[in-house]
Amino acid sequence: MQILCFAHRLEASAFFNHAPNKSITPYLFKADKYYILITGEGMQSATEHLTEVLATTPEINAVINLGVAAGNPEQTELNHVYPIRTLYRQRADLQMEFRSFTTQNKEAQFDVTSTETRIQSSEDANKIFQFSPILDREAWALASVSKRFKKDFFCFKYISDDATKEACSQIKDIAEEISLTLLNAYLNLPTDKNENTEDLIPKGYHFTFTQKNEYEKLLHKISLKKNISPKQLIASFPTFNAKKPNDKTKLLLTFMQEHLDPFTFNIKQRLNEITAKYKNDSLKVSYDKSLESDDLELNIKFTSADDLANKLRNLDSFPFEKVLDLLRGKNVE
């Protein structure tokens, strides 16, 4: 579900007409496919309104800001809608805020700076044009809240004014036209074609929370490495037979680990085989599981000097050279 944020109600008029909606609060409305939020003007108001809604409405996964803005006449055209790429902020002391946000719109080429105070002169506007050709009053704040709540963020700005001149357009007179143009831009927003991760869980397996995380990570990495889609990859998996679904899952995960990094998998297996021979109730040799060092660890329980000598004698046959070679990636073919 998306939430569409407008500073003023007039900017949203076409959206109200586009789909039946019901009022939830005086400034929040719900239609079939989206919420409409009227945030009021300025960053403080935008932050408060959006935070309140996102904190209480988990079904929202994307925030879309639509509204009017002023543009640099050399880089933007009046009465055009621009999809926004990066959002900057000019603070109340007129310094630029270091933090910026980027929208999920990969096609966007225009940036916006949200200003705390209204721009009074062309000199002030020119300073901001160094960073972006579009100026507004809310977008950065909405992007900031969206990021905090881990929501996708999109932004469209309709250029209603020349930023180097005093604001003159009577928004009221052309509000309907502006809103219709914004609605058009919104309707042309590409829909998310991402595969639902639930579709990528193979049938007949039972995953714990940790196993599911690991499975998803492995699936993603192997698909990247092999340059195939996750669905194609799943189709190429062999069938694993085990009595318990959990054992089946373990077999699948082991298979995927091997698939992702056959070299390291093979090293670990051979190290495990070697160390298994030196593992019993009172003696255990283990290697550094990160494989980042040559360190070997010996755990030994003994009851007397003779017992210790006996157990240490067991280690005479430990193939140190072979283990070191494996840890250093040598002679592994």
Binding site: R85, T86, Y88, M96, E97, F98, R99, S100, T102, Q109, D111, Q130, F131, K221, I222, S223, L224, K225, K226, N227, L260, D261, F263, T264, I267, S290, L291, E292, S293, L326, L327, R328, G329, K330, V332
Partner: protein
């Protein structure tokens, strides 16, 4: 090429600045008092370099020549790098600059006379051989036909026989140096990867054949040339691809023509890795398999990277490169 050229007031009469501005006479120019008021003033997303790249011409203040990190270079000599530029016009997916600067805009410093003075000072204070590297924060040759700084360095290094200068590049742009007098203490080093890796990961850099031809041309003119096989990126056929690359090199030059070859396996700081994930989420390189290594960097497993280094080193020896020509870089083991 540039969305804007920003020029510091104090360098606007500089000869190099005038040449650059003339060369890019279609780009709008703006004069500024200090580059620090603009560069990294806001966080500008890295990939904005594709559509909105600014060029800043400035004077570098503060320390101009710095000691390199440990494990840098061929021998035990002191190694320094000097800063004559920030950022790069190329776009290699693994580039550490994407996590290093908060803006992709290119800053070219034009006070080479001061950089050279500092180099001379260090040279005079150092009793033994000393190395100076260009290109820690940019490609040394990519824009050199326009910036034309290298003749000044040639003059300086001709008077410092025990000081070595390394220019490092992924370009084939040798226009600005090929007619200079080759010096035995200036090495032009080319980073080479397999043809498929260059196509997949080194966007906008020179194709492999162009780099090899440029090397051949310099060698024929008597220049000293080095090679960096760095970063090696794992594929199922990585060793055979490097074997092929070494064979291909022999069509352009002989082992005796090469001053040194360094070999390094891809590695990232955590910050850079996060940036790579953000900027290139579909890159096959992210299939890794990566782990956190002994120094908290993101690397392949230690056995795998040692195996890769050794296998490629051995292919070089088979092709006739001597032991003292080949060194393994940035790896503790």
């Amino acid at each position: 090429m540039w969305s804007k050229i920003l020029i510091e007031d104090n360098v606007k009469e500089h000869k190099q600045v005038k040449t650059i501005v003339e060369r890019f006479n279609k780009s709008p120019v703006q004069y500024i008092s200090s580059y620090e008021d603009y560069f990294q003033k806001v966080k500008k997303p890295y990939l904005q370099k594709r559509s909105d790249l600014q060029l800043i011409l400035a004077q570098k203040k503060g320390s101009l020549v710095k000691l390199t990190p440990a494990a840098y270079g061929v021998g035990n000599e002191a190694h320094y790098y000097f800063i004559h530029a920030y950022n790069c016009i190329y776009e290699c997916q693994y580039c550490y600059l994407q996590g290093y600067f908060q803006s992709p805009d290119i800053v070219l410093f034009v006070n080479h006379d001061e950089i050279i003075e500092e180099i001379k000072q260090i040279y005079n204070d150092t009793k033994s051989e000393v190395w100076f590297h260009a290109g820690e924060f940019s490609d040394s040759l990519a824009l050199s036909h326009i910036t034309e700084e290298w003749p000044m360095y040639w003059n300086a290094f001709s008077e410092m026989p025990n000081a070595y200068l390394e220019l490092r590049t992924k370009s084939a742009n040798i226009k600005s140096i090929e007619n200079l007098q080759p010096l035995k203490n200036i090495i032009v080093s080319f980073s080479l990867s397999t043809d498929s890796a260059i196509k997949e990961y080194d966007s906008k850099t020179a194709p492999l054949k162009a780099r090899l031809s440029a090397m051949q041309k310099l060698i024929q003119k008597g220049f000293k040339v080095g090679i960096h096989f760095d970063p090696i990126i794992v594929t199922d056929t990585v060793i055979s691809e490097y074997t092929q690359l070494i064979e291909q090199m022999s069509e352009y030059f002989q082992p005796k023509d090469i001053s040194y070859i360094s070999i390094g396996v891809v590695r990232f700081t955590k910050d850079v890795y996060q940036q790579v994930q953000k900027n290139y989420p579909d890159s096959p390189m992210l299939g890794g398999p990566f782990y956190t290594s002994f120094d908290n960097k993101v690397r392949y497993s230690r056995p795998l990277r040692l195996h890769l280094l050794r296998a490629i080193e051995s292919q070089l020896h088979k092709a006739g490169y001597k032991e003292q020509q080949v060194y393994l870089c940035m790896e503790r083991d």
